[in-house]
């Protein structure tokens, strides 16, 4: 059902955990439909220096979370904002059709975290 990349990220997820005193935190999804994603950012000079996630969800949800953290780290906030859900799914060599809704969360969670950073760090 899942590609090798998905299984790899599911089995050995990158950047799992929380960042204490994170500069930005984003949370999307709700438990009733099966997935919640939380992303934590450490930002320096507009660049994502560190990123961690926690996810409640299926294999696709965990793999997309892991993948989005890998893709975002080292990017400027503006570059990270351009990451799309589709790009995450593509980087995982695709997801099964019935799983596309999970992939619609990872980039959203990242964007939420950036938004949260900008709100709390403006001015």
């Amino acid at each position: 059902m899942y590609s090798e990349k998905v299984m790899d990220h599911f089995t050995n997820p990158r950047n799992v955990g929380e960042i204490e005193n994170a500069d930005g935190v984003g949370e999307v999804g709700n438990a009733s439909c099966g997935d919640i994603m939380k992303i934590f950012l450490k930002v320096e000079d507009n660049v994502i220096k560190d990123i961690k996630f926690k996810t409640f969800g299926c294999g696709a949800a965990i793999a997309t979370s892991s993948m989005v953290t890998e893709m975002a780290i080292g990017k400027t906030l503006d570059e990270a904002l351009e990451l799309t859900n589709a790009a995450v799914a593509e980087a995982l060599d695709g997801l099964p059709a019935q799983k596309m809704h999970c992939s619609n969360l990872a980039a959203d969670a990242l964007h939420e975290a950036i938004k949260n950073y900008k709100e709390t760090h403006s001015a």
Binding site: S32, G34, T55, C58, C102
Partner: protein
């Protein structure tokens, strides 16, 4: 890698004796049992023998057995055939919120045709209130349909008592016994059921064959129209090999029922106790008394984690189980059975069913008990809902 199959409520391996019995009917005795000639004759005898074997397991007469293609067909036939046959008598069906989709979706389809359906709720343990059932009966009630055992929790319903209520009010009684037959004693006379459905692949026969018991004198409109097979009650060329195998599976199940139930119950109890001891923050789903569940079934929820990722991790260790999570179902909702029991939706997503079978051993159970706790812990540590 070790492979441990604990998903026998989803489907079972065909038993070796069953497969052996089936094989001659593909290339040697391949005739159509409806045919007059040599190729048909041998075969029709084999179908009739299987009918006797099935009848014996559930204590009915062979003429009351009709072969069908699966449990779902049996349930469709029981419900739709009753509504069509008894339309003049009434338009009301009573069933439960925890039935298999084969019953629930059929009821929904019947509702579109104007049939009224009462879906009885269950309590937190998944059990019915029989006073409520009795109170739901009206003079328009034509059918009560309650499953013998629930596929997700293994809960056993009080079929004899429901049969007595049905008889008291002269309402027809159907039971989906797909999960019960072969696992626990099933006696249609004692239980006073009028219609009962079973499915081969849940008891060691092949996929693609099942049977419905139709009590003598029960008017039931055919579901499958066409040829005269099954005395006009089910059209379509007989799945001869499948039917022969179902007969043998029923005979085997009957011969070893008690011993096998005892053996499997001990394994299940060991698994249940072991998990409860080793993993904190879990919830047992279904009746807390394991004797009020099928001997092979255990359903537990692991707080904070989701079922599919749990199953995938089990799978990587060779363990096959199943989950009530929405993420494994193809729909967006977690198990309707968990919902009916008012299991918290997050816990419903992590509900995990272990259903043991003929091939499981104590070593299998111990292996599961060994690998399960660290998997749960690892997933919990990834979960935003979990706070140590």
């Amino acid at each position: 890698m070790k492979r441990i199959y604990m998903d026998n409520n989803a489907t079972t391996a065909v038993r070796p004796e069953v497969l052996d019995a089936m094989l001659p009917f593909y290339r040697e005795q391949f005739g159509n049992p409806s045919s007059v000639h040599w190729a048909g004759r041998a075969v029709s005898g084999a179908v009739e023998k299987a009918r006797e074997q099935v009848a014996q397991l559930i204590n009915c007469s062979p003429a009351e057995i009709v072969f069908v293609s699966c449990g779902s067909e049996g349930d469709n036939m029981a419900l739709k055939g009753t509504v069509d046959a008894l339309r003049d008598k009434g338009d009301h069906i009573i069933t439960t919120t925890v039935e298999h989709p084969a019953v629930l979706e059929t009821c929904k389809a019947l509702e579109k045709q104007g049939v009224r359906v009462t879906y009885l709720p269950v309590d937190h343990n998944g059990m019915l209130n029989l006073a409520e059932l009795e109170a739901a009966i009206t003079d328009k009630t034509i059918l009560i349909s309650v499953m013998w055992a629930n596929n997700e929790t293994g809960n056993l319903y009080p079929i004899e008592e429901i049969g007595a209520i049905a008889r008291k009010y002269k309402v027809r009684f159907h039971t989906d016994a797909v999960q019960a037959v072969g696992k626990v004693p099933v006696d249609v006379q004692k239980a006073n059921v009028d219609l009962l459905v079973l499915s081969g692949h849940k008891l060691g026969a092949a996929k693609g064959v099942g049977a419905i018991y139709i009590r003598r004198g029960t008017r039931l409109t055919p579901f499958m129209h066409g040829g005269h097979q099954e005395r006009g009650r089910r059209a379509g060329t007989h799945n001869v090999a499948g039917i022969v195998g179902l007969g043998v599976a029923c005979e085997l199940a009957g011969a070893h029922l008690e011993a096998e139930a005892t053996r499997i119950r001990a394994l299940r109890d060991r698994l249940e106790q072991g998990i409860l001891e080793r993993v904190p923050e879990i919830k047992l789903n279904g009746h807390p008394d394991p004797n009020l569940r099928l001997p092979n079934t255990l359903n537990v929820s692991f707080a904070y984690i989701e079922g599919e990722s749990l199953l995938l991790n089990f799978d990587m260790k060779g363990i096959a189980a199943s989950s009530g999570s929405a993420c494994t179902s193809g729909s967006l909702e977690p198990s309707h059975v968990m919902g009916a029991m008012c299991v918290d939706v997050v816990l419903a997503h992590s509900s995990t069913r272990f259903s043991l079978g003929a091939d499981n051993t104590e070593e299998d159970v111990d292996y599961v008990l060994e690998v399960l706790p660290p998997i749960v812990q690892r997933l919990r540590e990834m979960s935003p809902l979990y706070n140590r």
